[in-house]
Amino acid sequence: MKHSMMPERREGPVDPMPKSPRPLEEGGGPRRPESGSPDKDNLMKRMRKVDPKQAERYRQRTGE
């Protein structure tokens, strides 16, 4: 049988898990963005595009 070539996959944290993500180094996560900052603009843009009624249409079956 010809074995298919399995791509290499690192098993563990060869590249160690980040020792200290940036928000931690900076003493925590973001402050509430100031008005007009690009991040707030982009996130607000995403939020304003959301259909306000979509939660009413989201009807799922109960699972496990």
């Binding site: 399995m6 791509p7 898990m17 928000p23 959301v50 939660a55 249409r57 989201y58 799922q60």
Partner: protein, 495 residues
């Protein structure tokens, strides 16, 4: 991490954007599954009945050795067995991307969204994120032995919760008749009060401390004894009280801290005297505490906060586990950092803790748009946080803005979509799936079982497989890859 196998099972919701009676969530789920297996050939469909609700073709194993299948109408992905947090996070996100890519290839992006959450606000349905931890059979699986685990699980939601707008109806209002679980009637339904926001999605649905069922009477610790491995050596701790996490950091911390607490219990080093007076009530009270003081009463009648209790567990873990491996030290350092930050402004946790990220986004929106919590938009934004579409989802918006620390990489996730971890039995199963895909044509790979009563061409389960005409191949030890043995076995097989 030290001698541990991790796994995650995720049930996804499907948000339909167009009102078409013929396009239900289940209709889309079938389309996505069929595309994955029949067009993309990501794995091989089951050809046998796995159970009364899993007929042939319902799902199958993937080349990464995980599974995709339909469960109660939901698309569900089960990760392969993983020995490291890095692998399990990458493998979990691989499931998200497999499904999202299939949806996009099908051209359904504008019609439907994959939502990685655990509730719907409209009917109070819930669906799970299940965690699996392999422990030794010697693990003290008794009420007394599990008491520290219950205390830990009730309180860990302060950094593992994904948050939600509102609350579910009391679960004791649901009615069971035979196999049907019926919601409370609209007339009889009563929410004591509609909460603005709570930190956990699943807390409202957990009604027992210990129980074996998974679809109702859900418990803090599920007691089903199904190790999917040698039952003389192993037990699988199966937890269904947790939320699906969008933040990689939260997933890693949830699994890492829980793994360490299981180690403390196995080694008799868990903190003592922290039994909670009413753990189920405490679970919900912590989740719903609008002041986030998270105070609970212990059996000793002492009151402690969830942060203080978590700090007791952390202290024990530092004392007994520090230095045992690199991932353990990562978990200990970030467990401490998160608990420290939970004592202050929740905004410090944005990006790392899902409920904090979601609350911050919702508060920003409320400020900007001058809406209150009862506005239906708030529930819709809650859902959108969990949308797997990178161009739309709010979590992905935070990620795009550089607000979210990563614990894996896109390259590792891409690899995990196709390949299994190389240090568990998933590796051997992956070889089997590749072999079957290679040997069988696209049209034959999902043939229905033969009507002549012959054994189907293959049967694959987590701990055993069989190819027609050959002896079963058991894989009882999840720590072994079985790779060479699987290759030898397959070399002699003619499918």
């Amino acid at each position: 991490m030290l001698h541990r196998i991790f796994g995650l099972e995720t049930e996804y919701g499907l948000l339909i954007h167009e009102d078409r009676p013929d396009h239900s969530p289940t209709w889309f789920a079938h389309k996505i599954r069929d595309h994955l297996f029949r067009v993309q050939r990501r794995g091989v469909l089951d050809l046998h009945h796995r159970g009364h609700d899993e007929p042939p073709g319902n799902g199958g194993f993937l080349t990464n050795a995980g599974r995709i299948y339909l469960d109660m109408g939901h698309l569900e992905y089960a990760s392969p067995e993983c020995r490291s947090l890095m692998d399990v996070v990458a493998s979990d996100r691989a499931g998200d991307r497999l499904l999202q890519q299939a949806l996009e290839e099908l051209g359904f992006s504008e019609q439907v969204s994959l939502i990685k959450n655990n509730i719907d606000h409209e009917t109070d349905a819930t669906f799970g994120s299940h965690e699996n931890y392999l422990v030794s059979r010697r693990f003290p699986f008794s009420r007394r032995g599990l008491a520290p685990l219950v205390t830990f699980l009730v309180t860990r939601q302060i950094f593992t919760g994904s948050g939600r707008v509102g609350s579910a109806a009391p679960q004791d209002a649901w009615i069971q008749t035979d196999r049907l679980i019926l919601p409370p009637s609209p007339l009889g339904r009563h929410h004591v009060s509609e909460l603005p926001f709570q930190i956990s999605q699943r807390a409202d649905y957990i009604v027992n401390d210990f129980f074996e069922w998974v679809q109702h009477n859900r418990a803090i610790v599920n007691t089903r004894d199904e190790p999917l491995a040698d039952p003389n050596q192993y037990r699988r701790i199966h937890l269904l009280l947790g939320d699906s996490n969008m933040a990689e950091y939260a997933t890693a911390l949830k699994l890492g801290t829980t793994g360490l607490v299981l180690q403390l219990i196995e080694e008799g080093q868990a903190p003592q005297g922290l039994e909670i007076d009413e753990p189920v009530e405490a679970l919900q009270e912590i989740s719903q505490d609008q002041e986030r003081r998270w105070l609970i009463r212990l059996q000793s009648q002492k009151a402690m906060s969830a942060v203080e209790i978590q700090e007791r567990f952390l202290d024990c873990a530092v004392q007994h586990c520090k230095g045992q491996d690199e991932e353990t030290d990562w978990v200990l350092a970030h467990w401490a950092a998160v608990l420290h930050d939970l004592r202050g402004d929740y905004q410090k946790l944005v990006g790392r803790v899902d409920w904090a990220s979601k609350l911050w986004l919702l508060e920003c929106f409320r400020d900007a748009e001058h809406v209150d919590w009862t506005d239906p938009t708030m529930k819709s934004l809650d859902l959108e946080y969990h949308n797997l579409n990178h161009a739309k989802g709010l979590y992905h918006g935070l990620l795009e803005e550089g607000r979210v620390p990563r614990v894996t990489t896109d390259r590792l996730i891409q690899l995990a979509m196709e390949t299994a971890p190389k240090n568990t039995r998933a590796y051997g199963r992956s070889e089997l799936v590749r072999h079957l895909l290679h040997e069988r044509s696209a049209s034959a790979v999902d043939q229905p079982p033969t009507p002549d009563g012959l054994f189907p061409p293959y049967v694959i389960n987590w701990s055993i497989f069989q190819v027609r005409g050959h002896a079963p191949f058991p894989m009882p030890d999840p720590f072994k890859t079985y790779l060479d043995d699987v290759r030898t076995h397959l070399d002699s097989v003619i499918v």
